[in-house]
Amino acid sequence: MNPLTTPTLPRAQRPTRRRPARRITAARIGIYAFLFIAALFFLAPLYVMVVTSLKPMDEIRQGLLFGLPQDITFEPWRVAWSEVCTGVSCEGIRTGFWNSVAIVVPSVIFPILIGAVNGYALSFWRSRSADWLFAMLLLGAFIPAQVMIYPLVKVLAAAHLFSSLPGIVVIHIIFSMPVMTLLFRNYYASLPQELFKAARVDGGGFWRIFFQLMLPMSTPIIIVGAIMQVTGVWNDYILGLVFAGRENLPMTVQLNNVINTTTGERLYNVNMAATIITSMVPLLVYFVSGRWFVRGIAAGAVKG
């Protein structure tokens, strides 16, 4: 196993740290100074986004990027949500929001189910050809999307799925399969084989063992997978742009339309409000899930 699959230990269990330290030395001041400046760099855009979204336009024109809003207004948020033009229509990015929700829900459920079945089959019903397939699948994860996009457009068009909700879901299933399979395979590989053997002796079949034994034991890894899928699919742009079709454009695509195709004066406050709203879901997932999020990254990192 790669060391990365173990998440960073929670505070309490962390082994006692090295060096005695905690003297106030120049070195420690330096450490804090560095971390502080770095934190500023990482926080500044978020700060700018939030303040800008709360300012009226004439305040923005004064060019005080970092200034706090003089009189706070939530108008830009309302406009962004329900009035701003996203290319064809002017109903705000709420349509994109609901489109994204409609895409994300099945794109979380199906890839996880399929990943779980794949991982389960690979770990317990071993066969040489399956291992070989798996290796190929992992290599597939490295193929740039651009190589596959046009052929996939053709295939989906032939199946009458192009530019539809099922179509984009199928695409997300395909592109997420390597990581999801890997995630579940590694998880099941860490379970004792005896468990499986006992179930076999008791006469369990492929599906019965999967649904009654393996799936109930998989909660932690399902959570990790769900976090990865929600953030990944929500943040996707290129696949949604190509495959979802006009009716189902996800939020990221609409957001980009709002900002990069507006004519006339650019309403920066509305733009920033729209950007925040779009980023809200993954950020919320991130802040709530904390350690799990990192675990997902680490698991995704071992691909290959």
């Binding site: 855009p45 597939g140 740039p144 046009y150």
Partner: protein
């Protein structure tokens, strides 16, 4: 089930290779013109420009992400207070989409109303930071945004790697009187080889795909100054109806990935195998 995906992955790749050797325009054709499209591709200034941008972007992004991420991890590993909060701050951009990242930075770097203007109003009237509208520098702004988004990821993985290192090394180093920074560079970093390789692979696959960030931040402009291969391919697939040329471009991209990722994977697997307890 995995089989269908193999058809999906393998089939589509083979199909793209086939199309890249044809004369297809709007619709795929199956005549055979050998490597003509590739010759055309490498005569195309926009493509060459986009490759050059990818190289600049790739090298700077990887370097900056690695260095900043590693430094953050090392500094966080010094028993600092509020480590959890700092970690959260460094990593949150990674939860944001490239589109959102690009848009935020577009706004911050906008010379008329962003950082430049803000600093000027603070009294530095000559302050200039207009890279985003400068043909020669625009690609660096994309690097800044991408590093902002990705450095936290490196930090998280490196930190996990640091925590996995044997504590005894520190005791030994202290007894020998080796300064900590030397230990990090000469002992710890080499020990983290597999982690570094993993991070590299992860970042690199992201580099080749870079598309969203450029589209949302600069739309490839000014002109085509910040064009990248992924955008070139998408434009030729859907905007300019030249799927043969686009396919050729995508295969070149695939070859670049193979050429750079495979050695790293081999190296990593070897060192992983060396450490007996897999």
């Amino acid at each position: 089930m995995a089989l269908t995906v193999l058809v999906g992955y393998l089939g589509t790749t083979l199909w793209s290779i086939r199309v890249s050797m044809s004369n297809s325009r709007t619709f795929p054709q199956y005549d055979f013109v050998g490597l003509q499209q590739y010759e055309r591709l490498f005569d195309n200034e926009r493509w060459l420009m986009s490759l050059q941008n990818l190289a600049i972007y790739g090298v700077l992004f990887l370097l900056a992400c690695m260095v900043i991420g590693f430094l953050l991890a090392v500094f966080l590993d010094q028993k600092v207070r509020a480590e959890g909060a700092l970690r959260t701050i460094f990593l949150y951009p990674y939860a944001m989409s490239f589109v959102a990242t690009g848009l935020v930075w577009q706004w911050v770097l906008n010379p008329e109303s962003g950082l430049q203007q803000a600093v000027r109003q603070m009294g530095f009237a000559d302050f200039t930071f207009d890279w985003i509208v400068d043909q020669d520098k625009v690609i660096y702004t994309v690097v800044i945004a991408a590093v902002w988004q990705g450095a936290g990821l490196v930090m998280a993985l490196m930190l996990a790697g640091l925590r996995g290192i044997d504590e005894d090394i520190w005791k030994a180093a202290r007894i020998d009187g080796i300064p900590p920074w030397r230990v990090y560079i000469s002992i710890v970093l080499p020990m983290m080889g597999p982690t570094v390789a993993t991070v590299f692979i992860l970042l690199f696959t992201g580099v080749v795909k870079v598309f969203d960030a450029v589209v949302s931040m600069t739309q490839g402009g000014p002109g085509t100054a910040s064009d990248v291969p992924a955008k070139f391919i998408m434009d030729h697939l859907f905007g300019r109806a030249n799927i043969a040329l686009a396919s050729a471009g995508s295969i070149v991209l695939l070859l670049i990935v193979i050429a750079l990722v495979v050695p790293f994977m081999v190296a990593r697997n070897r060192s992983a195998a060396n450490r007996a307890t897999a």
